[in-house]
Amino acid sequence: MGAYLIRRLWQMIPTMLGVILLVFFLFTQFGGDPAQVLAGKITDQAQIDNIRKELGVDQPVYVQLWIFVKQVFTFDFGRSWVTKEEVSHIFKQRAGPSLTVMTPILLIELLLGVALAMWVAYRRGTVSDRAVMIICILAMSVSFLVYIIAGQYLFGFVLGWFPVQGWSDNLWRNLTYFAPLPILLAVLVGLGPTIRLYRSVFLDELGHDYVRTARAKGLSERAVMFKHVLRNALIPIITNLAMALPGLVLGAFLIEIFFSIPGLGREVKIAVDRSDFPVIKAITVYLAFATMVFNLIADLLYRWADPRVELR
């Protein structure tokens, strides 16, 4: 187990280097010049040169790359070019709101998705299976943007069931007051694909020999579903979950923008609008890192869910 962990961690290094190279070259070679924005309304060349020097963008490429690599490994990305806020502080402050919204979305989607998917898989081929699947597809076909615009207007304003937007620094108030509408809309959008995915997972499992054996032994269909199929289906479900997690940190940025939730997704959008490279680069690199870690955790969970899986 220990040796396995060390090997996997070791394998992460080339990937991490690849991410660093990709991010670095994309932004230095093709991004805009931040000195122009920072220079303000009227400016001359001397001032722009001065700003470029302050930002370090006048250095040769290899020096800039070396600085970037150092930043990644010392977890010190310096300050935002626009707001002068420390990038590490941005992470600390924005991750909370994102997680506050995203964790319930993930959990509700997981529970509802698994329950409904099991039910339709159990009743596969019937009218209710068909009906649920068609509803799922219909729900998936409408753009997220439409959901948000219409949902906010209808539930937030016309009916007044939820606040239109907002956020506080009280976790409980956020969860009970501000977050429900964004969560509801995101679950509405996300449930369709989740059910479809899990249904196919369950159907896949139902086709296996062990199910036939279990049935032959005289186990009830219910027992087969819960005792055997669910347990085996856990592996792909965990994979799916682990893959989804880092994306959730970034959040459904549309939700964060429309509901004024100060999370990471909104921060990235603002940073892109402002060409605030230190922020984008840091978020990209660390979310890439998080993705790798979560994949590793998923692998470890496999073993827990199914001891037959060999860790190679």
Binding site: G32, Q36, G40, I42, E54, Y153, G156, F258, I270
Partner: protein
């Protein structure tokens, strides 16, 4: 010694009174549509950060709340500064007994505001390390200050203690500035929050973090700040005993406000809660719900809520009031005068630019894109700015595609190769290139340009790039033309006409317009204070702009602000970013009406 003790007692009294003056139960709730960027006054240039700075920092001068046209009044000064040497020397006397808001950097002591603080703020503007975007305001104006900046660029550190001939401290409370040459607009600059007083020990204590440790002498201080999301302002406990001292204004509404504020201790409201709400829909719905006390009306919604410039009955019934005013800014489309296709001063080049101007449908821009919330500009100088003449009409700025076609035909721009688009007089095909950023709003302008140019047979394509990239190319003179806008830094026409002054080419002068006749008029006008004589010169200059068409003048935007009935004393003043200390809230009414 006795004086010191007396001061301490007075200070303690002040604190006690200060706490009573503002009512903590009165909360003003507003929203910014764009996130603030930070609070270092010399570093930030965006409107919303400056709005907060305006509430927290004290520049030496301020604008009279109700007076129109704009009028400067002393803010932390005993009286208006004394001007001598024909406008080349200014003496400022700072009032005694003004204290900074408490901060650990003061080590528990009350810190009085002195003239040195203003000298320090002024010097900070020129510190190359801080890369202030505002240097242009005073560049080349104050004796010796530019040399200090040059030395700092070479040595790497700015010496704040080095003597500057133009900045003299006569005593603890008196500052004298000497200019290289007379300047009639200098005082406006000392009313900008950019030059608000900072205490050097605070700046030194927080270093690069000063942008998040805002300590001023203003009516409010920044109590809580969640970056990009919310700001909470509360009254500065050390705020001086200040009473409303402005004039009574021009109309009945102003009179009511002046009467309510008479003898009123400021500030009145105990908390200002600011949230960032970027999207129009949630921000507007929050206002309708009564969760925001005042709000701008997004242009997209004005036809429903401000039809024909009047407040919709549904809102008026709820007691909501509308304040409509023309913004002190102008939009324009500049042509690069050095460009081989559209640039140049020869008649056929002038004709091409004029034809493009005639063909672009500014009326549709106003009605369809801006939903009627703008007026067509007649000259570069917007309303409410000294030098604006409301009777001046510029017939060269009309929309007239027929005339555009006639002009193009007359000067030889006809389709020679049969591709359906006009070619240059020498027969080579040409295509305009309009830069545009990837946003939904830019897309609407692209649509309008495309159809306007197609209608007269001019081919146009769009150069899509990120905004900073376009700005860079614009400054390097690499763009053929570009849509742009300018907002007043101070309410004087000079701030706008300098955009076309030849020697400013490549800096403020995007178009690189350099016409000797215009330059001469500009120099002449700069030597004059605001007067009918100067306005006449401005009109002459406008004529040159109209006939040579380095700019296609656009519009002056109209701003609609709606206010709930429980907000008292609100009057939009385009020069005051944060009028919060004058506002009052009827908390009971607010509770009842919501």
């Amino acid at each position: 010694m006795r004086i010191v003790r007396w001061l301490l007692v007075a200070g303690a009294l002040l604190c006690a009174v200060g706490a009573r003056a503002a009512d903590a139960g009165k909360v003003l709730r507003i929203a910014f549509p764009v996130a603030e960027t930070g609070f270092d006054p010399v570093a930030v240039s965006d409107l919303y950060s400056n709005t907060v700075l305006d509430a927290v920092l004290d520049p030496m001068l301020a604008y009279d709340y109700l007076a129109r046209p704009a009028k400067l009044i002393p803010n932390t000064l005993e009286s208006m500064p004394v001007v001598s040497d024909n406008g080349a020397t200014f003496t400022f006397k700072v009032k005694r007994g003004i204290f900074f808001a408490p901060d650990p950097a003061f080590k528990g002591k009350q810190r009085e505001l002195i003239a040195r603080d203003y000298a320090y703020s002024l010097k900070r503007l020129f510190d190359p390390k801080l890369k202030s975007p505002w240097v242009f305001l005073l560049e080349g104006k104050i004796m010796g200050l530019d040399d200090l900046m040059q030395r700092a660029r070479q040595s790497g550190t700015f010496d704040y203690d080095a003597p500057v001939p133009g900045i003299e401290l006569l005593d603890a409370h008196t500052l004298r500035l000497k200019l290289n040459e007379p300047d009639y607009n200098l005082l406006y600059i000392f009313a900008m929050p950019t030059l608000g007083a900072l205490a050097r020990e605070v700046v030194d204590a927080y270093g690069a973090d000063i942008g998040s440790h805002l300590v001023g002498t203003g009516a409010y201080y920044l109590k809580d700040w969640t970056r990009g999301s919310s700001m909470l302002l509360e009254p500065n406990p050390h705020f001086r005993e200040e009473y409303f001292a402005g004039s009574a204004g021009n109309d009945a509404h102003d009179g009511t406000i002046a009467a309510a504020l008479k003898g009123q201790r400021l500030p009145i409201i105990g908390r200002v809660q600011i949230n960032i709400i970027e999207e129009n829909q949630p921000r507007w719905l929050e206002f309708l719900n009564g969760n925001l006390d005042l709000s701008g009306v997004p242009n997209e919604y004005t036809n429903l809520y401000v039809p024909g410039g009047q407040l919709a009955p549904s809102l008026a019934k709820r007691g909501i009031a509308l304040q409509r005013s023309t913004g002190m800014s102008v939009t324009y489309q500049y042509f690069n005068m050095k460009d081989p296709v559209v640039g140049g001063y020869s008649p056929e080049k002038v004709a091409l630019r004029r034809a493009i101007s005639l063909a672009y449908n500014t009326g549709e821009e106003i009605i369809i894109i801006r939903k009627g919330q703008a007026i067509a500009a007649q000259s570069p100088i917007p309303p409410n700015v000294a030098g604006y003449d409301e009777n001046f009409r510029n017939p060269l700025l009309e929309y007239n595609p027929a005339k555009a076609k006639a002009l193009l035909d007359q000067y030889g721009y006809v389709d020679r190769n049969g591709d359906g688009y006009r070619d240059l007089p020498d027969g080579t095909p040409f295509e305009l290139e309009q830069p545009s950023a990837p946003t939904s709003l830019d897309r609407q302008y692209d649509e309008l340009w495309k159809k306007s140019m197609n209608a007269v047979g001019i081919k146009i394509r769009f150069k899509k790039d990120k905004w900073p990239e376009l700005l860079k190319q614009s400054r390097a003179g690499k763009l053929q033309m570009k849509g742009s806008a300018w907002s007043a830094d101070y309410p004087d026409g000079d701030n706008f006409l300098q955009l076309l002054y030849g020697p400013n080419s490549g800096m403020a002068n995007d178009a690189r317009f350099d016409l000797p006749a215009f330059n001469e008029l500009y120099r002449k006008a700069r030597g004059l204070p605001d007067s009918p004589e100067r306005t006449k010169l401005y009109q002459e200059m406008t004529k040159y702009v109209a006939v040579y068409a380095p700019w296609k003048l656009g519009i002056h935007p109209i701003e609609n602000v709606v206010v709930h009935p429980w907000v008292r004393n609100y009057k939009r003043n385009p020069n005051i970013l944060a009028p919060w200390k004058y506002l009052d809230i009827d908390a009971a009414q607010r509770q009842a009406r919501r």
